[in-house]
Amino acid sequence: MKFRLSAMAVAAILAAGCGSLAADVTSDRLLKADSEPGNWMTYHGNYQSWHYSGLSEINAGNVKGLREAWSHVASRSVRGLQSYPLAVDGVLYYSGSYNQVWALDGATGEVLWQYKQKLNEDLVAKQTHSPYNRGIAIGYGNIYMGTLDGKLAAIDMKTGKLVWETKLVNSEKLTVGFTGAPLLVKDKVIIGAQGGEWPDRGPIFGVDAKTGKQLWRFYTAGGEENNGDARNTWLNNSWRTGGGGGWMPGGYDAETNTVWWGTANPAPLYDWSGPDYKTKGARPGDNLYTTSVILLDPDSGKLKGYHQELPHDAWDFDSATGEFVMIERDGKKYTVHPSKSGFVWVYDRNAKVQNVWRLIKNINFVQDIKPDGTLVGRRDMTEGKHKSLCPFIAGGMSWNMGSYNPKTGMLYKVGNEWCMDLEIKKTTPILEPMAQLNIGADFNIINPPDGKARGHVSARDPITGAMKWEIQFPEPPLASLLSTGGNLLFVPDARGWLRAYDATSGSELWNHNNGQGHNGGIISYQAKGKQYVAVMTGWGGLAGDDYAEFFKGTFAQMPKDSGIIKVFALP
């Protein structure tokens, strides 16, 4: 094993022709991620959430020759592989269900080490949004991973041994733990807990990257005393019912030293208040800072600013999907943030709304959202039955990431066209241990008014939303996208096909059937001087679980306990 490691490290150094690449991943290195296109060092690819690889060895001219180079089967893959691989200096790292991590030779797939977190398995058996993991972070010689039972763990990236672990959430009491990837910012690891449907209050934590010491915490539901205290936006002390988890990693703007993070819906998801939501119902008021974008100081956890995208979210349309695409145009800096609602918000770097545009057609939870962010014609429902609320609870967009390509200037994004019928019920607030979900309605998925439920991938101007082209899919793809410097867009779809398109024109250039649906990440990286594309396969996530009954077809037979990472290269 030692021989393999050192041989591989030497190979990586030789291939890159630069000894400094063997250095630790640090925040400084992440700031210049674009200068290392051979590595994918953080969940979003860079701090700007581009999900873009500058590599161009594989390109629109030769992609038809792309073929599988190697694969690795992840054990215990209950609910598939939903995570994002990372690749640093020729080694590929990825996490799977039950907080397992593997390090593989990026060129051959040979296993360098595997790590299995010791979990409270009794607790995991009680969790609904479990046992998947959606990603890891790398820094200071460690792999960082949030665990299902509420810890942040640091694993030595060379040996695969546990360095430290810090308990951050009392998961035994609150049900929730961590499934989202952490974000390394300077010498801190930032991670948000699961939330939205549970009685916890969606805390986000700042932890010392070297020692594991918890440095700060920010409660997204109700804020903290002396730090964004917003409990007056929850009448009758309803802030205690919680929600608001920051369950996906956000972005970082180094110029202003600001972390951008998205937050989930308040609990219960559906409220019987109707239009009188400011004074009546389960949680009267705007419910800050749920379904919001929050700006935090990474050093202190202090709230620097926020924008609540949906005041008093009554539809479970989280802002927590974690994608903050930071771009510059005509000397002005923007942050583009897609949300489950089907709308995309465009901010300046102080979270002032510059534009709002819609990615999907079937939206009726509001009549519209104005370019300044104002909601028009809210559909605030009362107790009882409601027909055709759009989009469906799984969202007009889910948590799978889009891709911004600086060469084409386009944002590529998956949109979902589906709706739901529901019956809202007056429920008792849930606060206690193992209380599980706090939804507040019975519901079922239905077709939208304009036809069959479906998905699409479109190429958009990220600021205006103007569409250049769109590709239809019979079911919404639930995996993330990758665009590259080779003028390619990769789309892993729900049925199991991985397709490559010309990023400029949208014409399909290559496809390959991976044998099961995709519900995770996709990256490109370099090992021994050669470009690879790595994609997660495996089915059974919270959105995909509806496919077997609703879309039937191949989904009725698709396994929900299988996960394979597939890696492609040119011959």
Binding site: A125, T427, Q436, N444
Partner: protein
């Protein structure tokens, strides 16, 4: 603001209803917020005013479906969603109770520590009595 003392006072004041409830439950079932004195452990577990007001309510499987089970069992269990349709299930009462208690890896959480035997029996009865929408 309600705190543990208020809840206990309320519980005491509503002694009749609570006594009946206590008889029906051989251990606290956390699914019923605030109704039992043993669960809240710390001041932070103090409940919102609305929870205290409804603390005396009996365990209601319909509420449980609207909050928890309905995430997967659509339309209150009348239709398949992420999980199977429960109305008209061919499972026996014992099989249903066992599945609720222990769950099924990757498909259903275990509710054996959240619900006591009587509450699980009430859920089974609810499932048995499910009728199509509109039927009485």
């Amino acid at each position: 603001m309600a705190n543990l003392a208020n809840v206990l006072a309320l519980v005491a004041a509503l002694g009749g209803a609570i006594a009946a409830h206590a008889q029906a439950t051989n251990k606290p079932g956390p699914m019923q917020s605030g109704a039992h004195a043993s669960a809240p452990q710390a001041p932070s577990a103090a409940v919102p005013d609305a929870a205290a007001a409804s603390a005396a309510g009996a365990f209601d499987p319909r509420q449980l479906f609207a909050n928890v089970c309905g995430w997967c069992h659509s339309s209150g269990g009348r239709e398949a969603g992420k999980g199977p349709k429960l109305m008209g299930t061919t499972l026996t009462d014992g099989e249903l109770a066992y599945r609720i208690k222990t769950g099924k890896t990757g498909q259903m959480p275990a509710f054996g520590s959240a619900l006591n035997d009587q509450q699980i029996a009430a859920v089974v009865t609810y499932i048995r009595n499910l009728k199509p929408e509109g039927a009485q």
